[in-house]
Symmetry: C2
Subunit: 478 residues, 2 copies
């Protein structure tokens, strides 16, 4: 996720009037099965084998790097709007249509498959994305879509009627790996990314294709506007792999996601002076790499102090010669915390302490045992400010109730804040929304070896389906 | 300098028999001026204006980046064996020939200009190099050659006869900037770099030219072997800018160089695990960049402890994305100290402490206030081992006596160890040698703004000339 987005409004219950109604209390909920018979929806079960078989089948479009000897031990490389993305999209359209859905494609290629309910009204969606990183895995995004399709199949198996429509949405170019804005098309839908900006995005790596030209080429430049106004949603639920190590480490199964961390991205420039490594004594240096090393070391201490995270993912230096002390270093700093105020506080501490360290002040013993050097300069650029996103309490409650019902054990369910951005962030700006996390093996993601067990995938799909149905039922019974 | 070279032998006085004789004590020394008249050589003065005028004139071949508004406020970009290097070489050959020298070019394009003495014998040389860095200055190497030529002019002005021949040598491709081995052709002369290795060096930047093809192209592929056996020298003196800040800082004028620091170059690989910056808590990370930052911070502390220097000039990380914790970082470590034993001791400390830090041990408080992380791995590769070079005591004594005589003030003269490598390192393996340093403004070198005042250049040239003449006189009187 690379674009700043304003803090999600805590959606008022009043907002829900008309399209849906608030979930006010735990209650029995139901769907109409086989015409008029009312059945406990918790009895509806997704089919784990079918889910996993279909998931791996769709991964034949865009198969990536092999990492093991098993039949599914390959990653994915299905870049947005590529030929293999088109194959996956075609499958999605055909499958959901055959399951009784009306399918609409908007001007960003977002695909909305809607299964009618007993009444007219907005659909409650399960959504995610089919595109992957160039060296990605089989679960990030893909699991969310496949679980949505499995929900449609399960409803059809039982001839279950929902009160209002339910649907599955595939968002275009969530990864931002080929066209470099992540969550790009949910962002356009939300009105936060201008359509023209998205259309003009040129593929990375020097190619000439743009999002618009590729949408046109593969036949997914839809006729309806890409906008929450044209395609409003009653709610948006997203099943996603955690992409972190917490659920696995705590031996828990379901993450009830309350929102997405605030984050800020900075570019830090350290300016000293190039000098010969051999002929310049330590005390006569303005070594930009040494100062950068201290700053990165210190950023971690400050993150620890604030219970936040701080990370340097890119660092470059000049001139870049073994025997020249670098006169300049530039590095990124990605700072995240659940609350905006925490990110603000750590930014203030970082700026104060970085300036002090550049001036030679010994902060927290970092200069103990060091030779005082010439002063250096540190400058900052803020590249991205993304306030915390808080998901809707009704959707969070629906996910928690579903997770507890499905697992039968509250201790397997964990309240979480997502560290990464997802399409649900943009969706949550215009409808109630929440997310469901399932464990990632070793916390690994954006990597061919990304893995979530079939059991955990099915558990997540079950919670997703129940969450959608609970929300639908809640609207009906209100 | 990028090649390891064995420690210079402390040349025994016995070695000097035949070609030259040891300088045994301070004594009056003289040269024959105007035929038979014996004159105090300290009366011979280089011409500062002529020296500087000629230096800047020769800098019209390969002028580089402008950095100021003055006529000489440009750097140099005279890559070895380029067309502009050929122009400078042609000037050198013509000028030294016109000053009465016999000029020989060897198979590496090293140019030896020898002015006959009263007696047959090996020549005492002033030597350095005319090639520059691509973004270099007007003094590194160039001053040493120009001062040698000024010495020849001064001797001619006074019709001074030396006892044995004296000469000036221009070594090919000292910088290693175009053909990537520095001190390349003095290394071949010394027998430490195989001729074929040097010949096959391909120019950096993807071109197809080799040293051999370019030597041939510009007409400097000489017929005599590039070897100390074919072209022995009685002694080698080199005037060079300090390329460091000490002389300027201490308001001193002449550095008497006793040798060159020992150094070792290492490549350090830090292996952790790629992970998402947002979804991976600090305690679940194996952040290779954070560990690399701590290692670099610590390498400076160890250098301080050992009165050595340690520097990281190159650092690269993967995968290189703002929101991915780097799983791998690779960086260079350049460690130098005057004594081999110090470099060995710091290497042992570095290896012990880097391993401990990778395992999570808190060395010297570096992990104070930090969140314990997953363990990482550190591996080492030794790229270069260059033992300390000790110059010859007779040459050092000649330089010190000359410096004291020329400055008239011992406090302006400083004993130094060179941090950088120079052609004199290779020369010193086969004849007595030493160097003379003059101040570098702000310690800057390998930079267009490299600067040494005309007065300091002339002072250095005067010390160079006297050192050569003292050595010659010493041979004669022994």
């Amino acid at each position: 996720m690379s674009r700043p987005i304003p803090v999600a409004r805590r959606l008022s219950k009043a907002w829900l009037r008309g399209a849906c109604v608030p979930y006010t209390a735990r209650r029995a909920f139901s769907a109409q099965v086989t015409g008029s018979r009312t059945t406990d929806i918790t009895a509806l079960k997704v089919n784990q084998d079918r889910l996993m078989e279909t998931l791996h089948q769709t991964c034949s479009w865009g198969t990536g790097k092999r990492w093991g000897s098993g039949p599914n031990d390959t990653g994915m490389s299905r870049l947005a709007l590529s030929d293999t993305d088109k194959q996956a999209r075609d499958w999605f359209v055909e499958t959901t249509s055959s399951l009784g859905c009306h399918v609409k494609v908007d001007a960003m290629g977002n695909i909305f498959a809607v299964r009618p309910g007993r009444r007219e009204g907005l659909a409650t969606f399960a959504g995610s994305h089919l595109d992957t990183q160039p060296s990605g895995g089989r679960y990030d995004g893909i699991l969310g879509i496949l679980a949505g399709v499995e929900m449609l199949k399960t409803l059809k198996d039982h001839q279950a009627e929902t009160e209002f429509p339910v649907g599955v949405v595939n968002w275009t170019n969530e990864e931002g790996a080929r066209f470099p804005i992540s969550m790009c098309s949910s962002g356009v839908w939300a009105g936060d990314i201008p359509l023209e900006t998205a259309y003009n995005l040129r593929e990375v790596g020097g190619g000439t294709a743009t999002m618009r030209s590729e949408l046109e080429r593969i036949g997914y430049l839809g006729s309806i506007p890409a906008s929450h106004k044209s395609t409003p949603m009653a709610a948006h639920f997203e099943l996603h792999i955690e992409q972190g190590p917490l659920l696995e480490a705590e031996k828990q199964k379901i993450g009830v996601v309350h929102g997405v961390q605030a984050y800020r991205w900075f570019m830090v420039d350290v300016s000293g002076r190039d000098a010969h490594t051999g002929s310049t004594p330590l005390g006569k240096r303005a070594d930009a790499m040494l100062l950068a090393a201290r700053l990165i070391t210190h950023s971690h201490r400050l993150a620890t102090k604030h219970s936040a995270v701080a990370s340097t993912g890119i660092l470059s230096l000049t001139p870049g010669s073994t025997n020249t002390i670098p006169g300049h270093v530039r590095f990124t700093l990605d700072v995240r915390a659940p609350a905006d105020s925490t990110v603000e506080a750590i930014e203030a501490d970082l700026k104060r302490d970085f300036a002090a360290l550049a001036a030679g002040e010994n902060i927290q013993g970092l200069l103990d045992g060091a030779t005082p050097s010439l002063p250096l300069e540190v400058s900052w650029r803020t590249d991205s400010v993304s306030p915390a996103t808080l998901f809707h309490p009704d959707c969070i409650a629906a996910v928690r109730a579903s997770a507890e019902a499905v697992t039968g054990d509250k201790s397997l369910v964990r309240d979480m804040t997502s560290g990464a951005g997802h399409d649900t962030v943009y969706a949550s700006r215009h409808c109630p929304a929440s997310m469901i996390f399932v464990p990632s093996k070793n916390g690994v993601s954006h990597n061919p070896e990304e893995y979530t067990s079939p059991e955990d995938c099915a558990l997540g799909a079950q919670v997703l389906m129940q969450s959608v149905l609970r929300f639908d039922s809640m609207r009906a019974s209100s």
